[in-house]
Each structure stands twice: as structure tokens, then as C-alpha cells.
């Protein structure tokens, strides 16, 4: 089943980049998935020998918000994800094919890439088969059939991770997370409503680069992105500690950026990267924009409201990490952010310099031979 396929390294070369560019990309990736630079050589090696990993993306009881978030990824850019890193062979949102043709595409992946493809799942699944049918069979059966030969499964969003909004009271369909259906495969929970774009693509980058599931917490979430509460990294944290609170939206405290806890902020109980990575390429996140967090990456958050009522007490003011490590993490993230930006800029400049130069690449190159820097 050896096909005429390029490795990621070859793919990068054939797009007009040099080996030096490629190494920079690997450095960016290393930083963006939260590794230190000593691990860069592993990233380089993985990207040299990996084919584009086939991905099947199933949409169950969903709103397509996770797919939409995914395509907002800034680093890596979605074009790079779709055409350099993965081969998204089945997606109801973007696939050219409809009807039986798209179903054939899914089966083709299962048959030709057993144990090699990633299954991404968006949306919850109802308890009874007849509530969700795909291709004349139940969605549950399709999910199990597709999961069976998957290398890994990504539960994208709070619906597939926890049940999400279809499972909110009174949960009329008996909606369940996919972790209730699939028990024999590694499942990475990537919760959020939706998850942050770069978290979604970052998890894929980890899987591809290392061929392993990232280190997960006891809920199955990647520690790289869900280790801390938003409260721990919140830009308004100093005001919480000082007891300065917004009492009403648009009051003087709101304009000064005081803590939103008293208007219902769920940051103290929500594990997510919003405060650190922020949204849409780092532009903002709800708290920065003056809105209390609704805790959208937490299990059962829809039934933990009302949203604008403060919690009686803050559970677990202590994280599992000692303050020194937390501090190092913050500095590390800042440095990585700068490195990412610098590397991307460097690569982009390089690319525009010589967009037409390289049209050919020796596809027999398996990564052993090195094209040296100019």
C-alpha cells in the first residue's frame, strides 16, 4: 500500500521552502506545542518521515462551531494543516463530495490506512441508535466502525467530550459524550464550546509529530492546554486578589478592568487556555473583553448556571503545580509566542522572496539526504 506520497518534509520543499525554512517551521511547532527546544530534533525527524495523516471528521449532534473554530487556526494556518499536515478525507463541512461519494471516501480511509488515521468527532451521540442514523445505519455504529481502526480519537468540543448542550437538562435525547460509547481506544478530550482553534490544531500537531497521544490529565485532556484554570492565568487576577470587583457591567470597575467574579465569572472553576493563548490569533478572550467566563470547557457547564450569578465559593484555590513552576510556565509561553511570531515572519519573508524558484523536488528523498542551507 506504499503510495506515491510525499513526506511533510518533501511537501515543504516542494512548496518552495528551503531546509532552513523547514527547520524553522519545526522550531515553531516545537514551541507551539509546548515543548522545549531540546526536543526540536524529534519534531524535525517526525516531520521528515511522516505522510500527511488521514483524518475522518464525524459530525454528530453538533452545531459546526468546532469545525468553524478549527478553520480559524492562525498557527499553524489552516491551509498548512489541510494540505501539509493532514489529509482531511471526510468532513461534512468542507468535503467536495456528497452522498455516497463521501461515504466511499470514509471507507477508503478505513480500508487503506488502518491504525494510521485520526478520527475527530464533533457533537454528542444520543443514547438510542434510532435517534441518529448515518448512511442507513446508526451513527453509533458508524462511529464504532470508524473508531475501530483509528490511531487515535479526538473528541473536539464539549458535546463530544461531555455531552454538551444536547445533554443539558432535560437532555431530551439522552445525549452522551463519545467516551461513553468508545471504551477501547485512546480518546483525547479537547473541550470548549468551541475549543480554541490553535488548541485544536496543536493537538493534531502533537499526534502527528510524536506519533503519540499527548500527556493527558485525569479527564483525558492534554495537559499542555488544560492544565490550569483560567483564573490562574487571568489578566484580571490581581484585582481578584485585591478584592476589586465589577459590580455591574459598564461601571467604573468594568472600565478599570476589575475582576468579573461578582457578575458570575466561572474562570475560577474552568480549565482552559483562554487566558494564556487567547482567541483568534491571540486577540482577546471573553474576560479580557469584559464578559464573565461561562465555563464552556467544563463538564455540565450548561447546568451550572445561572451565568451571571457568582459562585458561593471558589473550589480548589490551589492548583497541583507549585508557584515557581507556574511562573516559569508563564515566562516560557511568552518567549515561545515571540519565537513563533519571529519564525513565521522569517519563513513568510523567505517564501515571498522566491516563490517561483523551486518547482521540482526529488520525491525519492525520504529524509536521509539533506538539502543544506543556501
Amino acid at each position: 500500500m506504499e503510495k506515491d506520497m510525499q513526506t511533510i518534509y518533501q511537501s515543504v520543499l516542494s512548496r518552495g521552502f528551503s531546509r532552513r525554512d523547514f527547520l524553522k517551521m519545526c522550531a515553531v511547532l516545537t514551541a507551539s506545542i509546548g515543548l522545549d527546544y531540546s526536543q526540536n530534533s524529534e519534531v524535525v525527524k517526525a516531520m521528515e518521515v511522516s505522510k500527511r495523516v488521514p483524518v475522518i471528521w464525524l459530525q454528530l449532534q453538533d452545531c459546526t462551531g468546532c469545525s468553524e473554530s478549527f478553520i480559524r487556526s492562525s498557527h499553524p494556518k489552516i491551509e498548512s494543516v489541510l494540505f501539509n499536515m493532514i489529509s482531511l478525507e471526510y468532513t461534512e463541512a468542507l468535503s467536495a463530495a456528497s452522498g455516497h461519494q463521501i461515504e466511499e471516501a470514509r471507507k477508503h480511509v478505513i480500508e487503506n490506512y488502518p491504525g494510521e488515521y485520526i478520527l475527530a468527532v464533533e457533537g454528542s451521540i444520543p443514547m438510542h441508535d434510532e435517534y441518529l442514523m448515518i448512511g442507513g445505519v446508526s451513527a453509533k455504529q458508524t462511529l464504532l466502525e470508524t473508531a475501530k481502526h483509528a490511531k487515535a480519537i479526538l473528541a473536539y468540543g464539549s458535546c463530544s467530550s461531555w455531552g454538551g448542550i444536547p445533554a443539558a437538562y432535560p437532555n431530551p435525547t439522552g445525549a452522551k459524550p463519545i467516551t461513553d460509547i468508545i471504551k477501547d481506544k485512546p480518546i483525547v478530550r479537547v473541550p470548549g464550546c468551541p475549543p480554541i482553534a490553535e488548541v485544536m490544531t496543536g493537538v493534531i500537531a502533537h499526534l502527528i509529530t510524536f506519533g503519540t497521544v499527548p500527556e493527558l490529565d485525569h479527564h483525558g485532556r492534554p495537559k499542555a492546554f488544560y492544565r490550569h484554570r483560567i483564573h490562574d492565568k487571568c489578566n484580571r487576577r490581581a484585582f481578584f486578589d485585591s478584592g476589586l470587583f465589577v459590580e455591574s457591567f459598564d461601571d467604573e470597575g468594568a472600565k478599570q478592568g476589575y475582576c468579573l467574579y461578582k457578575v458570575g465569572c466561572k474562570g475560577p472553576t474552568t480549565y482552559n487556555s483562554c487566558a494564556e493563548m487567547r482567541w483568534n490569533g491571540g486577540v482577546s478572550y471573553p474576560i479580557q473583553s469584559g464578559n464573565p467566563c461561562i465555563g464552556c470547557s467544563e463538564s455540565n457547564f450548561w447546568d451550572n448556571g445561572p451565568f451571571y450569578t457568582r459562585m458561593a465559593k471558589i473550589p480548589g484555590t490551589q492548583t497541583t503545580i507549585n508557584p515557581e513552576v507556574v511562573g516559569a510556565g508563564v515566562i516560557g509561553a511568552t518567549v515561545a509566542g515571540i519565537a513563533v511570531h519571529a519564525a513565521v515572519t522569517a519563513v513568510m519573508n523567505k517564501k515571498s522572496d522566491k516563490s517561483n524558484k523551486k518547482d521540482k523536488v526529488d520525491t525519492s528523498d525520504k529524509g536521509e539526504s539533506r538539502e543544506e542551507d543556501k
Binding site: F83, A96, Y131, G136, I165, S289, G290, I294, P306, N356
Partner: protein, 571 residues
């Protein structure tokens, strides 16, 4: 001999849509549109705090994200008689315009273009000629032969890799693709550019609403504080960022999107199918004053029946005799009855699936066949969306609408009637993006002027406390969403959501037959269309996609059944 084509699922839409078409001598004789999945949001919001409802119903749809939230917010503000500050109104309009532009562009390039553009055929193109074409239709700077050669190489690499990804199993090579290779290459280049641009325009929502998809709103205004002298408020840097995004959007819409639609459309002028009902509905939106000042709407309100442009009728979403949802061919009951129509304030969501048990090859379309209800205006089927709005704006003699439509049609050498087609719908969407991008610029200028005048208020807290509310109230929130007229009807009792009904654009457009056996907009648009190859019914996708379907919107009720065939059947 009659045969039935089934497409299920229809991809490149939001949600799960099934189309069954009866063919006779190669032409669609009759068509049936079915929503085969439902969720439970209207039931789930019952008894919740009305101030929280926006977040729940926002999850009706992650594609037209924010439109349902705003409709919900407006319904509560209508019920409680809350007037929002000028700045909040402007910020909401900026956010709504951002999603409108995002949605229209993504729809054209990423959901619809493959119905007109043969990606693989782009490999045959001469990049120099593509460059010449690109430079003849637009001033967009990315137009050199080298640039298009690079794009072509990207496509070649994907094809050579043997992993086609999202292009896998498309209808490539279908004889209904009419573009020369050079124009196909141009479209593929802009597919990739639009993919990059779409992540930018949504930052308007991120700045004001904290994230996208699913930004935050608040009943009474916006929680985002304006304070040009605070490091935590919306200040000059944030405003400049928004302003820049708007400028870039205007350029992208006017130099890439509209010229592409015109160029591609010019090769399909004789493909005039997909018109449909000729009944059009718009609630209107983008008020230059308050949302309740209907006379100040830039996007006008109205109804046109049977294509009669001389008579734009008024619409009142509160009138119990105007908007009603019928269930005669939908899997619901009203008061225990299997038929009838109700105004949304009286609406019910009692599920009653009577379709085939287990797998099915065709639905019993003589009976009930969809989870989508049939909304009707004065018991008439309606089309809603960009085409409806452009035609209503034209008929209402709005100068900018007339100028936009006349100019585009004269460039293409087409009569007005050509608008009433799948291609016309796609053109209307692009032209509307041109208007909305201009209004967005105007709204931004107004916001800055307002701040300059010393007004930095974004929130009205006078009715925030539920103790200030009447024991019972009801309201309607309407909005023109990318796909059309969206209304949310709420009843509030004792501080809780007593009842909630959303009637959304795709419910209008994708509705099944009603109590009078009147067909819905998709069904009407498909009738009479010749299908060249029933195994590869490109024409059906072309017409259905021209409406930009959003099925999770259309069927937001309990997910009792999601029966998908995932196949094209011929039987």
C-alpha cells in the same frame, strides 16, 4: 419512467439535509427537502434565566454564530422594554456585519464554489492567462503569473500525493462545469486566500465579544466597556484594529469576492435554473437608529408575492395571523393533533416521529417527512435570504440597492429576471456583501464620532434586576442573518423563560409541504431542473447550495431522530 434521486447527506452545508428528487425524462418533476436531525434547544432553555438564553440558543448554529444570540437578546429586550445605548447598538451591528461578511465569503468559496469550479481542471491552466484574467477584473495585487503558478503547483502536489483530502471524490470532470481552466485556477487561488482572510474578519467579534465562534453578548447592551483612557477598555488600539479589519474586508469583498462571482457567473449565464417561489420575505435590519425604528433600516423590511415588485407589503412578526408554523408534513403534534399552524408565541414542540423505523431508502413523502416545520407568512411559502433582501430593497426603491443590482446586471448583460435563479441568488449574496461592508465602515465612523462626542456608555442596567420585570411579558427578537429572516419569540413569566420558539431562515427555505400542500423554497427551486447525470447530480447541489443551507438552525429541537442515508440512491 420516474426515478427518485436521493442525496443524503448534502455536504458543504451546516447540519444534516436530505434531498429526494423525482425525475421524469431527465428533469426534476418534484422535490422533497427533509431535515433528518433534531436537537432540543427550545426545550432546554425553558425555565432558564432569560438573561442566559442567548448563550444556549447561540449554539443552535456555529456557522452563523452570534446571530441567534443577538436575536435572543433582542427578544428579551423587547419583552422587558429595554432600550440599549447607541454604542451598544453600533457594536452589535459591527459584530453582525462581520459575521455576515464572513459567512457570505466562506459560503461562496468553501461551501458553494465546487458546484461551479472544477478544481482538478485548474491543472490544465496557463498561469499567465490566469494572471491576465485576474488583472482584467480586479486591482487585487496577488495576480502575477508566478503566483498562480505556485497555486497550481500546490494543487498538483496534492493530486500527486494521492491524498486528495477535502477534494476527494468530487464531481470533477462533470460536463456541467463550464469554466476554462484559467478561471478554475483563479477560483482555487481565491479559495485559499479566502480561507486565510476569514479568520481575520471574525476578530471584530473577538475584540467586542471575546471570542469567535460564539462571542458573548449581554441583555441591556454590551459588557465590553468603552474607555479610551483605560488599559482595560476599548481604546484607540482596539478601535484601530477593528477599523483596519473593516478596510481589509471592503477590499477583499470588492476586489476578490464580487469580481470572482461576476467572472464565474459570466460563464453560466445560460444556466437559469433554481429560481423557485418568487415570494420573498425580510424582517429588515441594520437600523441607523434603534432596532425598533424600522423606518431607519438600511436593509429593508417587506414581503413580495409572486414576484410583483410594485407591491412591497409590510411585515409584523407580532401579528398572530402573519407568521405561523405548520406541522402537517413535519414530525410534531400541536395540542395532540397532527396538523395545524401556530404563531410562535403560542408555538409547541411536541415530537411525534412517524417516519420509517430503522433504515430507510426513501421517505414517505406523501405523509410527514421532515423535522423542519413549515413556516408561512399569511399562509404563503416564502424564500428568505440575500436574494429576497436584494429584491425587496430594489422594489422598495432603495438607491444603493438599485445601483448595485443594475450595475451588476448590466455588466453581465442580463435582465432583472435572471436574478431569480441559483446564480442570481449567489450574485445577490455577493452584492449584499458589498453593501454591508460599506455600512460597517459607516457604523465604525459613527461609533468613533459618538465616542468623540463624549458618549462611552455601552450598557443599560435599569432592567437588569429581575425584580424590575413584570410578572408576565413576551417579546420578539428579529435579525437579518446571513441566510435570511430570523425571529426568536419568548414568553417570560416570574423571571423565567416560559416558552421559546425560533423560526429561522433555513426553516423557511428548507420547509416541507404545508397544510395546503404548498411546497417550500428548496423544493420549488429544484423543480424543472434537468439533471445530466443522475449518479452525479451536481445540479441539485448547485441549487440547494445557492440558499446556503443551515440545518442545525432549521431543526433545533430535540435530537430524536437523525436518519441519514449518506448515499445517492437511484430507484
Amino acid at each position: 419512467m420516474a426515478e427518485r434521486i436521493v442525496i443524503d447527506p448534502v455536504t458543504r452545508i451546516e447540519g444534516h439535509l436530505r434531498i429526494e428528487a423525482e425525475m421524469h425524462n431527465g428533469v426534476i418533476q418534484d422535490a422533497f427537502s427533509s431535515g433528518t436531525a433534531i436537537r432540543g434547544l427550545e426545550l432546554i432553555v425553558q425555565n432558564r434565566d432569560p438573561r442566559d438564553v442567548w448563550a444556549y440558543v447561540q449554539r443552535i448554529c456555529g456557522v452563523c454564530t452570534s446571530t441567534h444570540a443577538l436575536a435572543a437578546i433582542r427578544s428579551v429586550e423587547d419583552a422587558l422594554d429595554i432600550k440599549v445605548p447607541r454604542n451598544a447598538h453600533l457594536i452589535r451591528d459591527l459584530m453582525n456585519a462581520a459575521v455576515m461578511l464572513h459567512d457570505h465569503v466562506v459560503h461562496f468559496y468553501h461551501l458553494h464554489a465546487f458546484d461551479w469550479v472544477d478544481v482538478l481542471n485548474a491543472l490544465q491552466a496557463d498561469p499567465k492567462q490566469t494572471s491576465t484574467i485576474a488583472q482584467s477584473i480586479s486591482n487585487w495585487p496577488k495576480s502575477s503569473p508566478g503566483y498562480f503558478k505556485e497555486v497550481q503547483q500546490k494543487v498538483k502536489n496534492i493530486v500527486d500525493s494521492g491524498q486528495l483530502g477535502i477534494f476527494a471524490n468530487g464531481y470533477w470532470g462533470h460536463k456541467e462545469y463550464k469554466l476554462p481552466p484559467e478561471v478554475n485556477l483563479l477560483a482555487v487561488a481565491h479559495y485559499l486566500e479566502a480561507l486565510d482572510w476569514q479568520k481575520e474578519i471574525v476578530k471584530v467579534q473577538t475584540i467586542f465579544g471575546g471570542k469567535n465562534p460564539h462571542p458573548h453578548y449581554v441583555v441591556g447592551g454590551m459588557a465590553t466597556p468603552l474607555d479610551i483612557n483605560s488599559d482595560n477598555g476599548i481604546h484607540a488600539e482596539r478601535l484601530s484594529h477593528v477599523s483596519q479589519l473593516i478596510d481589509e474586508a471592503m477590499v477583499f469583498v470588492n476586489e476578490v469576492y464580487i469580481p470572482d462571482v461576476m467572472a464565474i457567473g459570466s460563464f453560466y449565464k445560460d444556466w437559469t435554473y433554481g429560481g423557485g417561489l418568487n415570494n420573498y420575505l425580510s424582517y429588515g435590519d441594520f437600523s441607523t437608529g434603534d432596532i425598533r425604528d424600522v423606518n431607519l433600516y438600511r436593509m429593508p423590511r417587506g414581503v413580495i408575492l409572486n414576484g410583483d415588485l410594485s407591491n412591497v407589503m409590510d411585515v409584523n412578526p407580532k401579528d398572530p395571523d402573519q407568521v405561523k408554523e405548520f406541522i402537517d408534513h413535519s414530525w410534531y403534534t400541536y395540542d395532540g393533533q397532527a396538523s395545524g399552524g401556530k404563531h410562535p408565541w403560542e408555538g409547541e414542540t411536541n415530537l411525534n416521529y412517524t417516519g420509517p423505523k430503522g433504515s430507510y431508502s426513501t421517505l414517505n413523502t406523501a405523509d410527514k417527512y421532515s423535522w423542519i416545520k413549515s413556516p408561512r407568512w399569511k399562509e404563503q411559502s416564502m424564500e428568505t435570504g440575500p436574494l429576497a433582501r436584494m429584491i425587496i430593497g430594489y422594489a422598495a426603491k432603495k438607491p444603493e440597492y438599485i445601483e448595485s443590482v443594475d450595475s451588476a446586471l448590466s455588466k453581465l448583460g442580463l435582465p432583472f429576471a435572471a436574478l431569480q435563479s441559483a446564480l442570481g441568488r449567489t450574485l445577490a449574496r455577493a452584492l449584499e456583501a458589498g453593501l454591508v461592508s460599506k455600512w460597517m465602515r459607516d457604523d465604525m465612523d459613527s461609533l468613533i464620532q459618538n465616542i468623540r462626542n463624549g458618549d462611552q456608555v455601552t450598557f443599560n442596567n435599569s432592567k437588569w434586576d429581575p425584580s424590575t420585570w413584570p410578572a408576565q411579558s413576551k417579546g420578539v427578537g428579529w435579525i437579518e442573518a446571513p441566510r435570511g429572516a430570523l425571529g426568536h419569540w419568548i414568553r417570560i413569566e416570574d423571571g423565567k423563560t416560559k416558552n421559546y420558539q425560533a423560526v429561522v431562515p433555513t426553516t423557511w427555505n428548507a420547509s416541507p409541504r404545508d397544510h395546503k400542500n404548498q411546497i417550500g423554497a428548496y423544493e420549488a427551486a429544484l423543480k424543472g431542473t434537468p439533471i445530466a447525470d443522475p449518479e452525479n447530480p451536481l445540479e441539485i447541489l448547485r441549487i440547494v447550495h445557492s440558499f446556503d443551507p443551515c440545518l442545525a438552525c432549521a431543526v433545533h429541537l430535540t435530537d430524536l431522530h437523525n436518519d441519514q442515508m449518506t448515499e445517492i440512491r437511484i430507484g
